[in-house]
């Protein structure tokens, strides 16, 4: 071929390389943009569901899934999976996976469509604080009358006695203030602000044997104006605000020196009965039964006595602060918030949930879902340790947000890697120096060999995105080149050429055969991914090993000369260094 003809071939080849590079770049940028959009859709879907979960921890997974699906759809994606992650009975996070169809026109290749997957996890940290301007609210479930008054009074166990006290502003109760508050909370407010003497006047006298929950017991009735009052709660126990320096507490009926008894309201009790085991544990350990019942109801505790012991110890460490005591006893602020919410009902205004995105790793998500589900089914209180505390969740959420932009950088790095490998192929084809061409081929073969070897150890390789399309392009070319190299080996006159072309034919055939083990997904353009099994990876590894060996064989003299020159240069440098360091 003339020199001009060679230049023409080189020019056409260069243009082809540029076009192929443009195709790859176009495809990569399309996938990269799709990746960003898909992640955004996944993030927002997770946040949408988690926001509902924060407002309503009892929301059903179906309702949350619907919200996530709607959010994903409005951002152009499709919800693929949804998991509600629980830490014991406490809903902690939602995991979503979405798929976003990516379409675009790539230069030369034309219209392309692809599916980009993304996952996201949004965590929820709950918090609750009791109202600052009132005593502990309690969910009476619509109950009224004496039994509801008993529940309202029992909920205040632990509050300090304050003489004349009847409001939160005064810091506590006195004995008649507790009774007044309890009946008002139960929907039966007493007239005025009655003292113990007023209550004695208003009550219908009963005997000790006739006492029912909600009845009152008095001290000092002989004078006609008793100076102390308590509320009978059943089971031979009273709840009282005893005296200055003591807290509202349970006391045995016989220990109080009561000398008169009275009933404010007649008629059947209008409230659901409480759990006797919970009541007994609460009275034994001086803790508010409504909080204890909520712990058991939510599945955060199974044994009332054990839970009451822990809560009592925590209340001693946090006097007057039930929210802090619950957090201490349960070891988890979110669980404590849910207990307060369940125990307090609508009277609790300070309940809220904070939603933050959390770092997500596919394996971790799977593991979390796998470990969380059995725990939730068992209803036990054992924490899985999957998620951190609320503060940690916030920090990690900020990190996640900061890292959002770097995902594209990672995809760009993957694209750079693909382009580097492509550059080796281009160099092996178009570099004028035949030795450097073979060196580029050797480098490319080594690269492919390492990747194939790694794929073999991983049990195969999943082709997706650029790697799938590169394989789709190179496999038919490999078959064609295999035949061409075989012909060249057959017609070659020199032994070295026969070995070189034969090795290339075998390498191309083995690599193509390895890729073809991926099956029909390789040729179905609609498939977003293809799986090369271990046998395919082994065939590819064999192919590139043969090619690398052939490169070394063909360039053995050049490589040996180069190694000799390098060794000489190193020896010379060593001698120079020794001379420089030698003072003599």
């Amino acid at each position: 071929m003339s020199e001009r003809g060679q230049i023409s071939v080189a020019a056409v080849g260069a243009i082809a390389v540029v076009l192929l590079g443009a195709v790859l770049l176009g495809y990569l940028s399309m996938v990269a943009a799709g990746g960003g959009h898909a992640q955004r859709a996944a993030d927002l879907a997770a946040v949408a569901a988690a926001t509902r979960l924060a407002a309503d921890p009892g929301a059903t997974p179906a309702a949350l899934r619907e919200l996530a699906a709607d959010s994903a759809r409005r951002n152009g994606a499709r919800l693929v999976s949804f998991d509600l992650v629980r830490d014991g009975p406490v809903p902690r996070a939602v995991d979503v996976a979405v798929a976003l169809p990516v379409g675009g026109t790539v230069p030369v290749a034309g219209r392309q469509s692809h599916q980009v997957d993304a996952r996201a996890r949004a965590g929820v940290a709950y918090s609750a604080s009791l109202p600052a301007d009132s005593f502990r609210p309690i969910d009476l479930h619509g109950g009224r009358g004496p039994l509801a008054a008993v529940a309202a009074a029992e909920a205040q166990v632990g509050w300090p006695y304050v003489w004349g006290g009847e409001s939160r502003a005064e810091g506590g109760f006195d004995c008649s203030g507790l009774v007044d508050y309890a009946y008002a909370a139960a929907g039966d407010p007493l007239p005025g602000r009655p003292t113990a003497a007023d209550l004695w006047q208003d009550a219908r006298p009963v005997t000790a044997d006739e006492l029912l929950p909600g009845d009152l017991a008095f001290v000092g009735t002989a004078s006609g104006a008793p100076h102390h009052v308590g509320m009978y709660v059943g089971g031979g126990m009273m709840v009282v605000a005893p005296h200055t320096g003591a807290d509202v507490r349970f006391e045995p009926l016989e220990a109080g020196g009561w000398d008169g008894f009275g009933r404010l309201f007649d008629g059947a009790p209008v409230a659901a009965g409480s759990d006797p085991a919970v009541e007994a544990a609460a009275r034994a350990h001086q803790v508010p039964p409504h909080a204890l019942a909520a712990e058991l109801r939510l599945g955060l505790a199974t044994d009332p006595d054990t839970a009451a012991t822990a809560l009592a110890a925590a209340m001693r460490r946090h006097p007057g602060d039930l929210a802090a005591a619950l957090g201490d006893a349960l070891g988890d602020g979110s669980a404590a918030a849910l207990v307060l919410r369940s125990a307090s009902g609508v009277g609790l205004h300070g309940f809220s949930g904070v939603v933050r995105l959390l770092p997500v790793a596919a394996a971790a998500v799977r593991a979390a879902a796998a470990t969380a589900a059995p725990t939730a089914d068992a209803g036990g209180p054992e924490p899985t340790g999957v998620l951190e505390s609320g503060e940690k969740a916030v920090e990690r959420g900020v990190e996640q947000s900061d890292h959002l932009g770097s995902r594209l950088s990672l995809q760009a790095a993957a694209g750079f890697k693909n382009l580097t490998r492509f550059g080796l192929t281009a160099a092996a084809t178009f570099v004028p120096d035949p030795h450097l061409r073979d060196l580029s081929t050797l480098a490319g073969a080594t690269w492919d060999g390492v990747e194939s070897g790694l794929a073999l150890t991983r049990g195969g390789v999943e082709l997706a995105g650029p790697s799938l399309w590169a394989t789709r392009l190179t496999t038919p070319l490999g078959i064609g080149f295999s035949a061409l190299f075989a012909y060249q080996a057959w017609t070659a006159r020199r032994r070295d050429d026969r070995i070189w072309y034969g090795a290339q034919a075998a390498s191309s055939a083995l690599t193509a055969a390895g890729a073809m083990t991926a099956g029909t997904d390789l040729i179905m353009l609609g498939a977003g991914s293809a799986e090369v099994p271990p046998v395919g990876a082994a065939l590819m590894l064999a192919g590139v090993t043969i090619l690398a060996a052939a490169c070394v064989y063909r360039e053995r003299h050049w490589l040996a000369a180069g190694a000799g020159r390098a060794a000489g240069a190193v020896a010379g440098a060593g001698r120079s260094l020794a001379d420089a360091l030698n003072p003599f």
Binding site: G36, L44, V47
Partner: protein, 96 residues
């Protein structure tokens, strides 16, 4: 016309065409980059807004971020041809 004059005219025309092509390519690249930036800001801002947090100042530095109903709209101004023309890149995200 002399051969030299003909060559001069061809050179001037080619230089002009090259300049126009360069400006066009620059405009396309600037618009492409702005669109990518707008989309990136929308991706980050949408998540921050959905979480109920204020949008960080560095996201607002080069863009206007508005929330209309349940849609977050990011507008990034684009200067073309050295400021001779102006346009904007807009990206949207649907909020929960």
């Amino acid at each position: 016309m002399s051969e030299r004059g003909q060559a001069t005219i061809e050179l001037v025309v080619c230089a002009g065409l090259a300049a126009i092509v360069a400006v066009g390519i620059q405009a396309v690249l600037v618009a492409w980059a702005a669109q990518g930036r707008a989309q990136g800001i929308a991706d980050q801002a949408a998540v921050v807004v959905a979480e109920g947090r204020p949008v960080p100042a560095d996201l607002r530095r080069d863009a206007t971020i508005q929330v209309r109903a349940h849609t977050l709209v990011v507008t990034v101004p684009v200067r073309l041809a050295g400021g001779l023309a102006h346009t904007s890149a807009v990206a949207r995200a649907a909020l929960p």
